[in-house]
Amino acid sequence: MLSEDVIKSILENLGKMEGVKGVVITTTEGIPVHSTFPPDVTEKISAFAASLLGKAKEMIKEVGGAKVTFITLDTSEGELLISSEQEYVIAILR
């Protein structure tokens, strides 16, 4: 399990980032462990972020074998950043 300290340090680092609207930390199985969003939104972000990262890793492995560290999604209303940390997936909205 992700310790309180690790979560805290992740959140602290994020706090230093500009314009962060919210964050969800989930397991690679899509189970949320920390979130600044209400439950229903958290559930959706967790499921899709973990799925997306899984797919991206799969794809990169197929075509070359490098390691995926970060996904950026640009939307009309901001960015969604997805990164992986040990067995966890971190989704940041900004």
Partner: protein, 155 residues
């Protein structure tokens, strides 16, 4: 109602996320209503027996929740060495998925909740329709009952 509407929805569900092996829809008395699987079964699998246990486990857990006063049961996730079983309340029935061990649990939960809402309505419609069979179908049913009674005496 279209005869294989349940199978269609279950098949769609299986295809919508990787790692789902099969889906079973049962009612709360243990009757299997529909079933779909990813692979045309390589080994014979007794769907009705599996459905009966799936229903019983869910209904048993529901009862446990009542006894402990912790509210309605939404979902049961059973984790096995080589797979997982998800079960969710679905109108008068229970929807079950059997998956690989390493699936995205969050995604499966999300998909199941959505499908259960859709399936639940159809299932309740189906189950309530079967208690009032139209008169013209009664004739056929009478024949079936007679056939069964005849067959019984041959045993």
């Amino acid at each position: 109602m279209e005869p294989n509407v349940f199978e269609k929805i279950l098949t769609r569900l299986i295809k919508s996320e990787s790692g789902i092996r099969r889906a079973i829809l049962v009612d709360r008395t243990g009757l299997t209503i529909a079933h779909a699987s990813k692979f045309s079964s390589y080994y014979p699998i007794d769907v009705e027996g599996i459905g009966a246990i799936a229903s019983a486990i869910f209904v048993g857990s529901e009862e446990q929740g009542k006894n402990l006063d912790i509210g309605d049961l939404q979902m049961v996730i059973s984790e096995f060495e080589n797979g997982k079983i998800f079960a969710i309340s679905c109108g008068q029935g229970v929807l079950c998925l059997i998956t690989d061990p390493d699936v995205n649990i969050g995604m499966i939960r999300l998909l199941m909740k959505r499908t259960a809402a859709e399936l639940g309505k159809l299932l309740d419609e189906f189950l309530s329709a079967t208690v009032s069979i139209p008169v013209e179908e009664k004739k056929e049913e009478e024949e079936e009952l007679k056939a069964a009674l005849d067959a019984l005496e041959q045993l």
